[in-house]
Subunit: 337 residues, 4 copies
Amino acid sequence: MTYVSFAGAEKPLDFVAIGRLCIDLNANEIHRPMEETMTFTKYVGGSPANITIGMSRLGLNTAFIGKIANDQMGRFIADYLRRNNIATTNVVNDTTGAVTGLAFTEIKSPTDCSILMYRDNAADLLLTPSEVQESLIAQAKVLLISGTALAKSPSREAVFQALSYAKKHGAVIVFDLDYRPYTWTSAEETAVYYNLAAEKCDIILGTREEFDMMERFEDNPDHSDHITASKWFDYSAKIVIIKHGKDGSIAYTQDGVGHRAKSFPARVVKTFGAGDSYAAGFLYGVMQGWKLEKSMEFGSAAACIVISSHSCSDAMPTADQVHDYIERCNRGEITAS
Amino acid sequence: MTYVSFAGAEKPLDFVAIGRLCIDLNANEIHRPMEETMTFTKYVGGSPANITIGMSRLGLNTAFIGKIANDQMGRFIADYLRRNNIATTNVVNDTTGAVTGLAFTEIKSPTDCSILMYRDNAADLLLTPSEVQESLIAQAKVLLISGTALAKSPSREAVFQALSYAKKHGAVIVFDLDYRPYTWTSAEETAVYYNLAAEKCDIILGTREEFDMMERFEDNPDHSDHITASKWFDYSAKIVIIKHGKDGSIAYTQDGVGHRAKSFPARVVKTFGAGDSYAAGFLYGVMQGWKLEKSMEFGSAAACIVISSHSCSDAMPTADQVHDYIERCNRGEITAS
Amino acid sequence: MTYVSFAGAEKPLDFVAIGRLCIDLNANEIHRPMEETMTFTKYVGGSPANITIGMSRLGLNTAFIGKIANDQMGRFIADYLRRNNIATTNVVNDTTGAVTGLAFTEIKSPTDCSILMYRDNAADLLLTPSEVQESLIAQAKVLLISGTALAKSPSREAVFQALSYAKKHGAVIVFDLDYRPYTWTSAEETAVYYNLAAEKCDIILGTREEFDMMERFEDNPDHSDHITASKWFDYSAKIVIIKHGKDGSIAYTQDGVGHRAKSFPARVVKTFGAGDSYAAGFLYGVMQGWKLEKSMEFGSAAACIVISSHSCSDAMPTADQVHDYIERCNRGEITAS
Amino acid sequence: MTYVSFAGAEKPLDFVAIGRLCIDLNANEIHRPMEETMTFTKYVGGSPANITIGMSRLGLNTAFIGKIANDQMGRFIADYLRRNNIATTNVVNDTTGAVTGLAFTEIKSPTDCSILMYRDNAADLLLTPSEVQESLIAQAKVLLISGTALAKSPSREAVFQALSYAKKHGAVIVFDLDYRPYTWTSAEETAVYYNLAAEKCDIILGTREEFDMMERFEDNPDHSDHITASKWFDYSAKIVIIKHGKDGSIAYTQDGVGHRAKSFPARVVKTFGAGDSYAAGFLYGVMQGWKLEKSMEFGSAAACIVISSHSCSDAMPTADQVHDYIERCNRGEITAS
């Protein structure tokens, strides 16, 4: 059964995302605290950027809506997007002296990873509603928004304006919750805007903890996935994916069904990037018209590839690589580390 | 025909408003520039406060949701509300050292009035979502929101949370646009939040200029009232009132009809408070089940009474006073100044 | 003995002050809490403004360095200064939308007075160093600075620049401590800047509590006036006046002497303005070449006149009025209320 | 001739500096724009930190007064200082969530170097006056302050408090101007505080451009070094060093003499760190009682060693290394790149 319908060839752009564009500085010497890391490698980062890079690698026609610092880091990001065939006509240059957000990663062990964030005066949060190009969204089958872009004005308003354009032009709207507490003023502020945005979205993806945060003013004492998903079907949602970490994800649909898919083994280097590659793989599948279970499997396999490598964005696989990974797993050639 | 239905006796509270509570300091020596005014008289002010006082004077059971400074001005406001039979259980005391917003009025002539505002660090804009009492809104037939309360966080989020509660409990939601540019960061920010709020409202009242501000990202080059009103009927609206100053107001309804009512003469002292008393009178009529035209007339007469006196809040009339004013106008006893 | 020497006729300006210009809104109905006060009368206020008005009333040639809001309140202030013969060539108009600081006074009894301050976004704190006219200070015998102007940037830097010009051109510098905690970020920040400024001043006036605040990082456990005064004689000070409220003031001089003067009875309406009128009267006496004791007496008598009336600025006496007050006291015609 | 006298063995600490502690991220792939640099190496940085490391390497007993972020970068800095024998008893941990300042270096060519700074919410600028330990300064022969620490409150006030303690306890005070425009609100604010601090200093080092900035409100149209230096001898200064880049430095002394020293060839990798190593070498020489010319030569040689290597802090030489460098230059073994 098809739960979501996408526009056809009349919309030339498969996928556009709005939000955070930043730099990951990944520790080269891993399995130690960052205090002892002496060198770092630079990658493009930020959840919606990673997903867009993933979608482009999978062969879709993509674009990005965001704002970059007017410095070497900003230019590196724009170059990288272009080299990955992502349209940057709506990637705006900041003129206020803002900086590029940074994420220094610390990989103590495959299961003990943390991030040191630089988000003060970040250029991506300075995108304004007027800078969002209605014409670009009008051409897109899918708009993806990411929760972090709701954290501050004027980026917050730019996202709501993008949602307004997407509704007007009939784009399928995907909300990747991507909740990062350090950018927000208060948990209650977060809950209010996440809910206002989610009301307008067709596909919502998040962890159980992220949905709990959104239910701050509601009554779901047992943290029931079913209650959580039901709420959104009263608004615009068609699919609600709730992730439970190692226990896997469940995709709820309007018919009340909870869909699960099998997972794959991986030789884990670090856990960063798992969610972004999963989102890219899953959405790719749904856009191909695959069954939800197959789409979820594809997302899981894409995630396995990313967490087995050093970077997030740069490790995003092609469709062939994902299919190949699944086959090798099915042949028993890959086992967990 | 009834365009809006209200809950019955199961909801004991007729009307609750959320937003600005402030102090008006009205020039005692009028018909001169404020530079030459030496003394001022203190009144409770703020558009939603004025409307609530108006509703209470008209005999309705009312309450207010807001935040007051922990000082003499704040205590004066709370006392005044209580003396006017307005429940203050959800009027919260600020604890951060914020001040009470002030509005010094300058009355150079009946048609040349201006306001000098003090809105920095105003307590009313510090109301948080957690402070909004769901139980109070659950008991109310009507929730009125006012645009000024959307101007800053956390008051902005408190209003959206109040809207969420009102939707959940089936209150009729009234949006008095009340756009005051000095509190807002940018016109585009304003447009985004006004639209997000208006989507959820049953009755929307504003001037043509206020609706123009909301249409910043839209296409209504001729400022057509009809196009403006139609948009909101696609969301939740039942009645959209567009005010054209001296040319009168038009109330649009979902059936496509534009309702007009006659106006009354007045011996104008100043124009302040006209909109607030109109809103109170009109909503009172609608809640009585009167026809729209009669409700609009009642609002106009209430406004005439207020603009003929020195204050806004303190001059709000009783129902008998409004009926009496209409009768005296009908008998030709009142003529314009 | 003469402790301070002033320039002669080659400097045409007797006195210039820099700092706060604001509005006092004095309760008309007194002897009650402000909650019950319904009307207020508007006066020019701010400690350095009051002192300058006092100096001008006493017959000196005066000017002011400050910044006013571009509104009715700002224009009222500039008009009032000009009408009181105070040169306003260096009273700058704000262009950022700042407001005029307000002080609502509450007079519960002659000894129980308080002030409700509005100091957010106050225009007077926006004076910049570049706006301070060196040529004006070059012509002045005396520069008076007031502690409140040190509370925020850029006014803080404007004061230090004014001090630099005064030092360069040989003006006698008077520091009226005038410490108002609500404008400051922290007590330790206050102490640092008060000390930096005081190092450059010839005459320092303050209460014991104000000097205690300045000694936050020092060792004066018994709050000894002698230790306090001695410190400043190692820098630039010639006279240090420490006020002990009802117990009177002591003027310390470099020779180690503590000078006291008798006080006068008064029919006290409120205590506001006592310090400002004392400062004006005292400085007037010192500039006349009077002995310190006589100057202090003159200041005390000027203060008695101000606290016996409703306003601060508007009640500043002429020299004849002060002399007359002293004579009437000496004849026993005035007794305390 | 000895221009500055230092305390003897009764003060166990030779040198303490206050101010910026940050991280340099130096491009590993150099001679290209930063956009094309993929990896960076982490070093401790910040001008006063570099100078202190330099002084410690030269064999002096040193300490630092500063504030570090409560994160991996902050802990790395504290560890590095301790490993370099710098006392960290007055290196305070931030508790507000501030971050460590970053400096990404771009080395396009030996003469075309630039820095990309992250200074928003930097922990070092949050040091408060109360956190400065008087007892530490009381034990120090020399206190070095650095202009960057004056850029923001409360670090600005902490520096003035440190100056107050240094004056009280007779430490020689060195001011390294180190002007970094990006941290400051305005050029006039900068000028005011640089001047206030410089009045209290015994040795002042800066570039001609830095002194020009300080003379914003003064009259030195020809940018005369002589006029510049003379001003400070009227306050506390004994030595004023004005640096003219490739044209060398001149050390002015109170007797009106301008001292110059010869320079040395170097195989330049980058120009960063030249000023810091010069300052360390020069101050070391002065503290040994060497003639000014010899001290300046020693500083120049130390600078040559640092600019010939990849880092600033980590490349600071020992005294033997500097002497050896001078000898090799004298033997003609080192020639410019």
